[in-house]
Amino acid sequence: MADDFPDMPENGTRLRLARDVLDSQMVDREHRQSGKVDGIVAELRDDGRLVITAVENGLPEAVSRVSPRVGDWIAALGRRWGVRKGEVYRIPFNKVRRTGIEVRIDVDAVATPLLDWEKWLNDHIVRHIPGARW
C-alpha cells in the first residue's frame, strides 16, 4: 500500500509532519514492523531556519507527549530495568524514505535498538518455551 504513495515531497512542497509522519508505522528496509514514530526532532539553525533532523522512537517520548512527568518516570524505569535503558532512538530524517500511511526507514531494524525488546524476549524467554517454533 505504501508503494501507492509518492516519495517524500521535494524541497518547497508541503509536508504535513503531524499528520503524515508523527505516529506513523515505521517499516525497515526488510519490511519489518519497527515501531511507530513517537517524536520528531527539529533544530533551529543560526540562519533562523527550522530543520527537521530526525524521527524518534521510544515509549518515554510517546508518553511525554501526554504527560512529560509520566514520560520521565517511564524513562527512569527504563534506565533502571529496561532492555533499551530508557533510550529514545533517533533515525536521521534523510533515512526516512517514504511517507503516506507508512514511513519507510532506510535502516536494518535488527541492528538498531528498535528491536531490542523483541530480541531480548526471544533470547531470555520465548525460545525456551516448548512449541515456540512450531
Binding site: D23, Q25, L59, G131
Partner: protein
C-alpha cells in the same frame, strides 16, 4: 461466487457467530428474558444493526489499507488521543477476559460439581496453549465449528412454542413494563455486550491476518451482515428460552446454574449438559479472541511485529502481551470473584467507554488516505452518527443505572 470463495464466506459467517456470542451476550439476554419476557428483543435488534455497521467498516478499512482500526486511530489521532481508548480497553479486556475464563470454569463446574475457581488455572493454561500453538485460521475455524452448538438455543426457543405474536411485539420499542431502572440497565448491558469495542479491533486485525484485499469487500459485507445476524439469532434464542422457562417460574438470573434451566425446559436433563457445553465452548472461543485482541491492540499501538499466524519466536512481544493478559485475568477467577456479576459489570463499563472507541470511525472511514474510493457513503455516515449519539447516551446512563437497577 466460486466454491472456494463461498466456503470462505461460510466460515467467516460461522466465525462471526462464535465471535458474536460470549458470556456477556448469554448472561444479558437470559437476564432480559427472565425479567421482562420478550419486551427487550428490540434492543437486540437495534444492537445487531449497529454491530453490522461497526464491523463492516473496520473490515473494509483493513481490506483496503492493510491497517487495522487500532493502527489507524493512533496514526490519525495521535498518541495523545489514542492512549485513552487503549487504556480503557485494557481495563475492560482485563475484566471481560476474566469473565470469559469464569464462563468456561462455570461450565466445568456445572459438568463436574467441582467449584469454578479450581478450574481457573487449568482453563487459563488451555487457552494459552491453544494461542501458543494454534494459527489464526485454526483458532478462527475451530471457534466457528464448535460454536455451532449454540444453535441449541434457537432450537430450544422453537421447541418451546413461544407465543409468536408476543415475540413479534417485543421487536417494537416500548417503555418498561415494570422496574424501569432494571429494564434500562438490562437494555444498556445488552448493547454493551453486543457493541463490544473488542469486536472492532479484533475484526480488523483478523481481516489482516486472513490477508483480505479490495477483492474481499463483498465478502466483508456478507460476513458482517449475515454473520452478525446469525449470532444475533442465537442471542434471541437465549432471550426467548429464558422468557419461556425462567420468567413464568419467577426465576431471576443470579447464577449461571439458573440460566442452564433455559435449555432444561425444552430438552430435559440433556438440556443441562447442552447448556454447560454451549457455555464452555462459547466462552473458550471468546477467551481466545479476547486474549489475542489484547495482544493485537498493544502491538498495533506501539508498532510491533504482530500476528497469530506468526510463530511465537517471530512475534515475541505480541505473544508475551497475550500471555500476560491471560495470566492477569486468571487471578480474578482464582480469588473467586463471581463471574456473572463481573460479566454484567464489565458490560456496563463497556458502554461507558464506547464513544471513545466508536467516534474516530467517522473520521477514519472518510479518509481517502486510508480508503481511497471506498470511503463511507452518506447513509453509512448517518448511521454511524446515530450510533455515536446512542453510545454517548449509554455512556452517561450506564453507571447510574448500574446502581439503580443492576442489583
Amino acid at each position: 461466487m466460486k466454491p472456494g470463495k463461498l466456503l470462505q464466506v461460510a466460515l467467516g459467517v460461522l466465525t462471526s457467530i462464535g465471535g458474536f456470542l460470549d458470556v456477556g451476550a448469554i448472561a444479558t439476554a437470559a437476564d432480559a428474558g427472565a425479567s421482562f419476557r420478550f419486551s427487550l428483543l428490540w434492543v437486540v435488534l437495534i444492537g445487531t444493526i449497529c454491530v453490522i455497521f461497526l464491523v463492516e467498516m473496520p473490515g473494509r478499512l483493513a481490506a483496503v489499507s492493510k491497517h487495522s482500526y487500532a493502527d489507524a486511530v493512533r496514526e490519525r489521532f495521535g498518541f495523545q488521543f489514542y492512549i485513552w481508548p487503549i487504556l480503557a480497553e485494557f481495563v475492560v479486556d482485563f475484566l471481560v477476559l476474566g469473565a470469559e475464563i469464569g464462563g468456561v470454569c462455570i461450565a466445568l463446574q456445572l459438568l463436574t460439581g467441582i467449584a469454578f475457581h479450581w478450574w481457573a488455572i487449568p482453563v487459563a493454561l488451555a487457552v494459552w496453549l491453544t494461542a501458543w500453538l494454534g494459527t489464526f485460521d485454526f483458532i478462527e475455524n475451530g471457534v466457528a465449528l464448535l460454536g455451532l452448538i449454540t444453535l441449541a438455543f434457537v432450537a430450544g426457543a422453537i421447541v418451546l412454542h413461544p407465543p409468536w405474536g408476543e415475540v413479534a411485539r417485543g421487536f417494537v420499542p416500548a417503555p418498561a413494563p415494570h422496574e424501569p431502572a432494571h429494564y434500562w440497565f438490562t437494555a444498556v448491558s445488552i448493547m454493551g455486550a453486543l457493541i463490544s469495542p473488542y469486536l472492532l479491533y479484533f475484526y480488523s486485525s483478523g481481516a489482516i491476518e486472513d490477508g483480505w484485499g479490495k477483492q474481499d469487500l463483498t465478502m466483508n459485507r456478507l460476513v458482517a451482515g449475515v454473520g452478525m445476524s446469525f449470532g444475533s439469532l442465537v442471542q434471541m434464542g437465549v432471550l426467548v428460552t429464558a422468557a419461556m422457562v425462567l420468567a413464568p417460574r419467577g426465576i431471576g438470573v443470579d447464577q449461571y446454574g439458573q440460566i442452564a434451566l433455559t435449555l432444561v425446559g425444552p430438552f430435559g436433563k440433556w438440556g443441562y449438559y447442552l447448556f454447560a457445553v454451549s457455555l464452555g465452548i462459547t466462552c473458550f472461543g471468546a477467551c481466545m479472541e479476547q486474549a489475542l485482541e489484547t495482544g493485537f491492540i498493544v502491538s498495533q499501538a506501539l508498532g510491533w511485529n504482530w500476528g497469530q499466524s506468526k510463530r511465537p519466536v517471530d512475534a515475541t512481544r505480541f505473544t508475551m502481551a497475550y500471555t500476560l493478559s491471560i495470566a492477569a485475568s486468571t487471578v480474578l477467577m482464582v480469588v473467586g470473584i463471581d463471574p456473572l456479576k463481573l460479566t454484567l459489570f464489565s458490560m456496563a463499563l463497556t458502554a461507558v467507554m464506547l464513544p471513545l472507541v466508536v467516534t474516530p470511525l467517522l473520521v477514519i472511514m472518510n479518509d481517502k488516505h486510508y480508503l481511497g474510493e471506498h470511503t463511507n457513503g452518506w447513509v453509512t455516515n448517518a448511521v454511524v452518527g446515530l450510533i455515536i449519539g446512542l453510545t454517548f447516551v449509554m455512556a452517561v446512563v450506564a453507571i447510574p443505572l448500574e446502581y439503580l437497577g443492576g442489583g
